[in-house]
């Protein structure tokens, strides 16, 4: 197959699930990300911190294929995203789990139904969907809330539904854009720990947050958004070395 011989695929095979090289991206006439170089590997967590309007969300939009780079190259899950058409990009998105800062749900559906949409899209058999949702609900700590309409759920419960939905398709790349926003510090820490756990199944996890302190709950590489690009923050031990 031609796909298997592409250099992008070799990169994917070597464990690099996302690679941005000199990427510039933004909206209309404004460039938000400038010359971004970034790499995320399977089984690793990348924690990207930065203040409001530093470009964290735009960075996630590029990784989740909602925003195409204006310049540079973005290789996600072995595909050069600029070479894909709309349908191919949509199919690639199914391998990416995305938790938005303000997740969009079908508000009058229950958490169960919202998660079921993701499972159906991932091609799960209808008879296994209920079991899969139970398992996901247990993993993220959802209880009876799962049967209630989304509009009636608390912020924390909504966040859990969003995580369960993002994990439903067994994604290889998990993107969480400020997933602790609006949560209590304790709930925020729990969410970050939960997401970081996904590295154990071989996924690359990228978490962005304004709260740098949460990085200690997400073992892996640390990045800080500076002047429109994520800059690797060296660990104290690395700095000493």
């Amino acid at each position: 197959m031609a796909r298997r011989t592409k250099p992008e695929y070799a990169l994917y095979e070597s464990g690099v699930l996302a690679q941005l090289s000199d990427v510039t991206a933004g909206y209309a006439g404004t460039d938000v990300l400038i010359g971004v170089d970034f790499e995320a590997r399977a089984g690793e967590v990348a924690f990207v911190s930065g203040p409001t309007a530093a470009g964290k969300t735009t960075f996630v939009h590029v990784l989740r294929l909602a925003l195409l780079p204006k310049a540079g190259q973005a290789i996600i899950l072995g595909e050069d995203v600029q070479k894909l058409n709309g349908a191919q990009r949509a199919r690639l998105k199914r391998r990416i789990g995305y938790i938005a800062e303000n997740p969009v749900f079908v508000e009058d559906w229950s958490g169960f139904d919202n998660i079921a949409v993701a499972l159906k899209l991932a091609g799960r058999k209808p008879r296994t969907i209920a079991d899969d949702i139970d398992e996901l609900a247990q993993f993220v700590g959802l209880t009876d809330e799962i049967t209630q309409p989304l509009r009636s759920l608390s912020n924390a419960a909504r966040r859990r539904v969003a995580i369960a939905r993002a994990l439903a398709g067994k994604p290889e790349l998990i993107l969480a854009d400020d997933p602790t926003s609006g949560l209590s510090p304790e709930a925020g820490r729990r969410v970050v720990r939960l997401l970081a756990e996904m590295r154990r199944v071989g996924a690359a996890v990228i978490i962005t947050s304004q709260d740098e302190g949460l990085a200690e709950h997400a073992p892996g590489s640390r990045w800080r958004m500076e002047r429109g690009r994520p800059v690797r923050v060296e660990e104290p031990e690395e700095a000493d070395a």
């Binding site: 209309a28 229950s110 309409p149």
Partner: protein, 287 residues
């Protein structure tokens, strides 16, 4: 799955579709009624002629001509026109009231003709048949295109194109109303776009829902139009029975009713699909 907040809007959409479907079906039925009436009038007019007997004169000429016409081509029936019949016709067509007793001796024979192909020389054939039996006569038929002759054709064309245009406008209304369904499902479009559904998959989901709504609304609209049409028939013809109405109805008459649910489904699906594609595109691409 609780979907109560959408219930009112969805109900309003359903009835908008049903009313548009009803209007299209009702106009379709009315157009068909006009078409049938015009076709009937046209057929009666085409199949009617009058022979004026020129020679021999007097009652013998009428008897001779009637006997000749019985065997003449294209003639289904030949009846000498009585004074009463002539007076009745003159009254019917708006002339001054004339008593049968005041009528002069008539040398007219009414003919009921068999249907014949358009290029046939019916007048010539009948005149020749009369001549063979020694009768000189003049065959008078309704004019082909002028006056009433053209009116029936115009009425049929107006019914066909008018109802067609009206159906298109109703389909447009259904399509635009169904676009509103996509607007109410934009959250779902956003979710599906985020999770990697293709534009076609996402739009099909809303289009299928709209098609089902359109079909059921079309059924309701067509059923209402059929009931009202039946009610009108029984109102205008109190002696009619279901059996007589059933005999009266031709397959073509129910075509507008049969087409309505399918046309409503297609129009609704197209409108919803267009709206869904636009919302998907907004959600899938930020720049």
């Amino acid at each position: 799955m609780a979907r109560r907040p959408f219930a009112d809007a969805d109900r309003a959409l359903f009835w908008t579709l049903a009313i548009a479907a009803f209007a299209a079906a009702a106009v379709g039925l009315a157009a068909r009624a006009v078409d049938r009436a015009a076709a009937h009038y046209e057929s009666e007019r085409r199949n009617y002629a009058i022979v004026r007997v020129i020679a021999p004169e007097g009652p013998d000429g009428i008897v001779l001509a009637t006997a000749a016409l019985v065997h003449a081509p294209h003639v289904a029936a030949a009846t000498p026109m009585s004074a009463q019949r002539a007076a009745q016709l003159l009254r019917q067509w708006g002339g001054n009231p004339i008593e049968a007793a005041d009528m002069p001796p008539l040398r007219l024979i009414e003919l009921e003709l068999e249907p014949s192909p358009p290029q046939t020389d019916v007048t010539g054939d009948i005149t020749a048949a009369l001549a063979r039996d020694g009768v000189t006569g003049e065959v008078v038929r309704a004019p082909e295109t002028a006056g009433a002759g053209a009116m029936a054709g115009r009425a049929r064309a107006a019914a066909l194109w008018g109802s067609g245009a009206f159906a298109i406008v109703m389909a447009l209304i259904i399509s635009l109303a169904a676009r509103g369904l996509a607007q109410r499902r934009r959250e779902l479009m956003h979710v599906l776009a985020d999770m990697g559904a293709t534009q076609r998959q996402a739009a099909r989901r809303v289009a299928d829902e709209a098609a089902v709504k359109g079909f059921s609304a079309g059924l309701v609209g067509a059923a209402c139009a059929a009931l009202i049409a039946l009610g009108l028939i029984f109102l205008l013809a109190p002696n009619a029975s279901f059996a007589s109405v059933k005999q009266l109805v031709e397959p073509l008459d129910v075509l507008p009713l049969a087409l309505t649910p399918f046309a409503a489904a297609v129009a609704a699906a197209m409108g919803a699909r267009a709206g869904a594609e636009s919302f998907y595109a907004q959600a899938a691409r930020l720049a």
